[in-house]
Every structure is written in C-alpha cells, then in structure tokens.
C-alpha cells in the first residue's frame, strides 16, 4: 500500500505543484505502480466532476432588487467615509491619549503621596510662628527631636565673621 507521503506527492504531481525534475521522476515511478495509477485516476475524476460546477449558478434575486440593496448600503456609508475611517480611528485614539496619559500620571503622583502616610514613617514639622525651629518625629523609634537653628548659628556666624575680619 502506498504511504501517505507518496499519496500527497501524487496529488501534488496532478496539481502541477512539483518541480519539473521531481515530477518526471514521479511519473516514471507511477507507470510501475497500478495502485498509484488507480488513485491518480480517482483524483482526476473528482477534479473533472467539480469542473464547471459553479457555471450555471444564478443569483436568486432580480438584478434590480439586488442592486437596490447594494446602492442603499453604499449611500448609507459613502466611500470617503469608509476610506477615512482608519484615519479617523487613529485621530480619535490620539485625541484620547493625552487625557488618559494625564490621568495615569496624576494617579501615580497620588499613589506616591499617599503611600508613606500608611506606613506611619517619620514626620518633619516647622512652626509658622518660628521659622527657625524644626520638629522631627520618628514614630517607629518613638523619638522627638527639636532643632533650633538660632541664635547659636547666628552667633557662630558672627564669630566666624569676626574671626575673618580680625
């Protein structure tokens, strides 16, 4: 019995899909194999039966009615609208891109700002009444530090200035 590859090659030979040399070799082999010849005849017969099958098929609607439906559809969606649909889709996409990107960026900033407050991390506070005083709270270490930048710094600066002048 012919193997499957040979059967498919036989078909390819019938369909003119083999290279000229390969086809010639195959045809030479074919003459010696009655089983292959019978299969080839069957494939040819099927091809012959199908030839011209569509020839007599008629559209089951009157030409006028069929055209009227097509025309209605064409007029509903004019050619230029269909052509520009691709471009307008891109334009629409671009129109939405900027606000969407803005919203995403705002969301990310909000996340960054909100995330540390959940952790109860350290806080730094300045007094409005006294801009020279800083208070540092570290909740984890349960520590509070108050840093007063004056008058010591001013005195130091004055001393340094004095030192320099002298």
């Amino acid at each position: 019995m012919m193997d499957y590859d040979s059967q498919l090659r036989l078909q390819a030979c019938l369909d003119g899909e083999l290279e000229a040399r390969e086809a010639a070799e195959f045809e030479a082999w074919l003459t010696k194999d009655p089983e292959a010849q019978a299969l080839l005849e069957e494939l040819k017969m099927t091809r012959g039966v199908l030839a011209g099958f569509e020839a007599g098929v008629k559209l089951p609607e009157s030409p006028e009615f069929f055209w009227s439906k097509i025309r209605r559809e064409i007029e509903r969606e004019p050619r230029h609208a269909a052509e520009s649909r691709g471009a307008s889709l891109f334009a629409g996409w671009r129109r939405w891109l900027a606000p969407a990107a803005g919203a995403v960026a705002a969301g990310m900033v909000a996340l960054l700002l909100l995330a540390p407050s959940k952790k109860q991390g350290p806080e730094v506070e300045t007094s409005l009444a006294d801009a020279g005083a800083f208070t540092y709270y570290d909740f984890a270490a349960r520590t509070t530090l108050v840093w007063l930048s004056y008058p010591a710094e001013e005195e130091l600066a004055a001393n340094e200035e004095g030192d320099t002048l002298e």
């Binding site: 069957e42 089951p60 030409p63």
Partner: protein, 187 residues
Amino acid sequence: MLVRAAQRGDMVAFEELVLRHRDKIFARALSMVRNEEEAVDLSQEAWVKGWQRLPQFLGESSFGTWMTRIVINLCLDHLRRQKRQRMESIEAINEESGGVERQMPVVTVNPTAGLERSELRERINYALGQLSYEHRTVLVLHEFEQMEYKEIAKTMGCSIGTVMSRLFYARRKMAGLLAGLRKEGLR
C-alpha cells in the same frame, strides 16, 4: 473603462459591474457557505466592500478575480465565526488523528457518468455539504478559484502541508460520497 469610471465614483458604471459579475460572486459564496440566504447576504456585503475599496484596486488581477477574493475572505470570516459557535466537526478530528482517507478504497468507476446536469449538480451539492468547512474551502479555492497550495495556505492561515492533506481528504471523501450515492441511487 467601467472599472475606471466606478473608481471615479460613477455609480452607473459600478451597477453595470455588479450586473456582469453578480452570479459568479454569488456562486462562490454559495459553494463556501452552503446556504442560499447567507450567500446572498455575503455577496451583497462583498459588493459594498468592493465599492468602498475600489480606489485601492490597482488592476494587478482582473476585476472579477479581485471581487472574488473579497467574497472569499468574507465567507471565511463568516465560517470561522460559525465554527467558534459549535463543536469541532468529526471531519476535523479524523484529520487530526491521522486521517481516514488513506484507508478509503479507490473509486474506479466514475459515479457521475451518464447523469443529467441537474442531477449531477444535486449530488455534488450534497457531497460538498458533507465536508467540514475547512475541507470544502480548500477544495473550492483549489478547484474553482484555481489557487496554488501556497496561496490557499496564506488565505486560510495554515501550512502548505495542511492544505495538501485537507485537499487530499476532501477529494477522496467526495469520490466516496459520489460513489455511495450512485450505489444507493437515492439522491
């Protein structure tokens, strides 16, 4: 001339093109989908698409061939949608599992010899309807559209090997069905 005029927007010229090619486009749709109503709808859709894409038609093939490719693609989309909605066919399972076409006895006598044209059409119609859409499509594209294996593979999104095995199965199945009908003498 008609195509050029239609490309410039001449609706009368396009109507003439529809009149000339309508039967062929419908016939191709019918061969593929096996349902007259669906074939009418799909061929109508193809003509609307044809009008919209006409400015892109460069004349590399004949207008009829170009229109046929549009309807083929629409039919393929339609059949794929349909297939997604139902189970895999037995035909496809047979193909996957190695194929029964290898074991089919060879049909030695032409089962359609001496039949009237209408009777022959009816039998072929019935046999085509017994094939899965994948097998039928390969057969239609090869036998009616005269496409090469490579082109069919591209159109159907499969390998050339799959095209070859599907075509072989479809032909052998058709021969078997036609021979069976001849023996039964029923249809």
